[in-house]
């Protein structure tokens, strides 16, 4: 059992926001998905106040051991989410975390005020990897922008607030620390790293959105370093992610201080990845935790 901000989870494996759509997956897999649910808590795709259709395609580009996406946060908007999606998400066998993003503190406030009170919702995650239209700064890259947002939102909601940090920042640990001081209950990281690719035939940007975000094993070492730096700096729980594709990787993130882990891109390779990783992690934990320095390579 894992306790995350007072919420009991059967294990420490969540999904990364925007990397699993349980409503769609039930159309593909049926109720077997619920019977063998991959995660110990489910994080929704990020919703915004207004509906968004997302970026023009192409939205994907495969990189060495990774993926660039430029999805552009397509979603039904707050009202559509509350009416259509939330009742279906309530059927999941695990606690629900709703991810929200706002382009101003007012927008964020509305989202938190409307989503927070819903019984179906266990926690709210703030996706701050977007510009504040008032200041032009990426909220999550700047400690004081982040602090101001969290201070504003904290009183509006009784549920735990998780701040999802961006890795595209000089000092993510400083942002995490500011979020903690402002009242955040947990932080999660990493979101995707800015990246781009060109169309080999035209040498113009491949992605409809111009640039995108890199995820997958290619970013794991970068994520692990940031999770370590953040975990050293804050006392609140840290949800670590970025390229996790095995129980060993999950154990690495926990070893540097994460309290839970999340699986994103690996679910694209295997919809059951979360469950497999949880089982592998469990098996590792049952081994002696400290087996001493690796044996030399020669026998």
């Amino acid at each position: 059992m894992t306790n995350l901000c007072g919420i009991e989870l059967a294990g420490p494996v969540l999904n990364g926001s925007g990397t699993f759509d349980t409503i769609a997956a039930r159309r593909a897999f049926g109720d077997a998905l619920l019977e063998r649910f991959p995660f110990d808590a489910f994080v929704s795709k990020t919703i915004t106040l207004e509906p968004r259709e997302g970026n023009p395609p192409p939205r994907l580009w495969e990189t060495p051991a990774g993926l660039i996406n430029s999805i552009g946060l397509p979603n039904k908007g707050l009202e559509g989410f509350l009416q259509t999606d939330l009742p279906q998400l309530a059927e999941l066998p695990v606690p629900l975390v709703v991810s929200v993003m706002g382009f101003s503190r007012d927008e964020l406030a509305t989202l938190v005020e409307r989503v927070g009170p819903r019984d179906e919702v266990a926690m709210i995650e703030l996706n701050v990897s977007c510009p504040n239209v008032e200041t032009g700064l990426i909220m999550g890259a700047d400690p004081s922008e982040t602090a101001r947002a969290v201070e504003r939102l904290r009183p509006l909601c009784e549920k735990p607030l998780v701040v999802k940090l961006t890795p595209n920042a000089t000092d993510p640990a400083a942002v995490a620390s500011a979020a903690e001081d402002a009242g955040a209950d947990a932080v999660s990281l990493i979101n995707t790293l800015k990246g781009m690719a060109l169309d080999p035939a035209t040498r113009r940007p491949w992605l409809g959105g111009g640039s995108g975000g890199v995820s997958g094993p290619a970013v794991r070492a970068i994520a692990l370093e940031q999770v370590q730096a953040v975990s050293k700096r804050v006392a609140i729980p840290v949800i670590g992610m970025g390229g996790i594709s095995s129980g060993r990787h999950a154990a690495d993130f926990l070893a540097v201080g994460a309290h839970c882990v999340a699986v994103g891109t690996e679910s694209f390779r295997d919809p059951a990845a979360g469950r497999r990783i949880g089982a592998e992690l469990q098996a590792l934990r049952e081994l002696a935790p400290n087996r001493g320095r690796a044996l030399p390579v020669f026998p």
Binding site: F29, E53, P58, L60, E62
Partner: protein
């Protein structure tokens, strides 16, 4: 197509990736036909549905240190056996993923998730099916013809099924027409096999022959699908187009595979890959 399938051309997939041993890898002209025994998947995928495939070992380290993600493939044949369903995929090696798959040897593992997406819906009685495939797009046409021949029931001797019009670049590619059990007519771009014509030219003649009384099922490159769409629109005959777009997950998780339709972006892996032609303003944007 069975009555059950007609209601909903989507067979559910097990919610996990599984490994199917490869039983054969045959060279069919320019293509490879990979067959694997899927012990745990459903025996009745619907024509037009697809699987996400990867080699169980050695998936990576090709051109540009790829592939990493699995690749989408329409199944071309599904043969139930006592030990599971034998799935065959027809593929053309055009990049690191297809190159690795084309090198799979019997005994190696094929990792798969599927069947996914929603397949072809049955034709109305009044508009009998007419099948069109271009290049590697013949894959779903092959299983669709097989299924339609099967649906005609046993003891229908000389049954050649609905006609399939197949277009290829050249004779080397056209060898794949030999996989079809039913009636086919072949065209090649260079005249090295069958008629020296575009397959849409054959289609135009057929549609005119039957006075537009046909349901067209098509799969092929976007320019071909767009030509099919325009032809069918002008003859007012219904058309179902099996399309493709870049996919990461295949089950609606990533929102990466959208194509524009008259009602906005749809995820091709979930609401397709088969779309009604009249949902589209163009088939060129996939």
């Amino acid at each position: 197509m069975t009555a059950e399938a007609s209601a909903q051309p989507r067979t559910l997939a097990p919610p996990e990736r599984r490994v199917a041993p490869v039983t054969a890898n045959e060279r069919i002209g320019a293509y490879s036909l990979i067959t694997a025994l899927d012990p745990d998947g459903p025996a009745d995928p619907q024509p037009g549905q697809f699987y996400m495939l990867a080699a169980a070992e050695g998936w990576g380290g090709g051109g540009d240190e790829r592939p990493y993600l699995p690749r989408a493939f329409s199944y071309a044949r599904a043969q139930p056996t006592p030990d599971g369903v034998e799935l065959s995929f027809l593929l053309e090696a055009i990049g690191p993923g297809t190159e690795r798959l084309a090198r799979l040897e019997p005994g190696e593992g094929l990792a798969l998730v599927g069947p996914l997406g929603s397949g072809f819906r049955p034709a109305a009685e009044s508009c009998p099916p007419l099948l069109v495939g271009g290049g590697i797009g013949i894959a779903p046409v092959l299983c669709l013809q097989d299924e339609l021949i099967g649906a005609a029931g046993p003891g229908a001797p000389g049954e050649v099924g609905p006609q399939a019009l197949l277009g290829f670049r050249s004779a080397e590619f056209a060898e794949a027409a030999g996989l079809f059990r039913g009636a086919v007519e072949v065209a090649t771009d260079d005249g090295s096999a069958g008629r020296h014509a575009l397959v849409t030219e054959l289609l135009r003649e057929r549609i005119e022959d039957v006075g537009g009384q046909a349901t067209v099922f098509a799969c092929g490159p976007p320019p071909m699908l767009e030509a099919v769409r325009l032809l069918c629109t002008s003859h007012r005959c219904p058309a179902q187009l099996a399309m493709e777009s870049g996919m990461a997950c295949g089950f609606g998780a990533c929102f990466g595979c959208v194509v524009p339709t008259r009602s906005g972006y749809v995820r091709l892996c979930l609401d397709g890959p088969v779309l009604d032609a009249d949902q589209l303003e163009t088939a060129l944007d996939a």
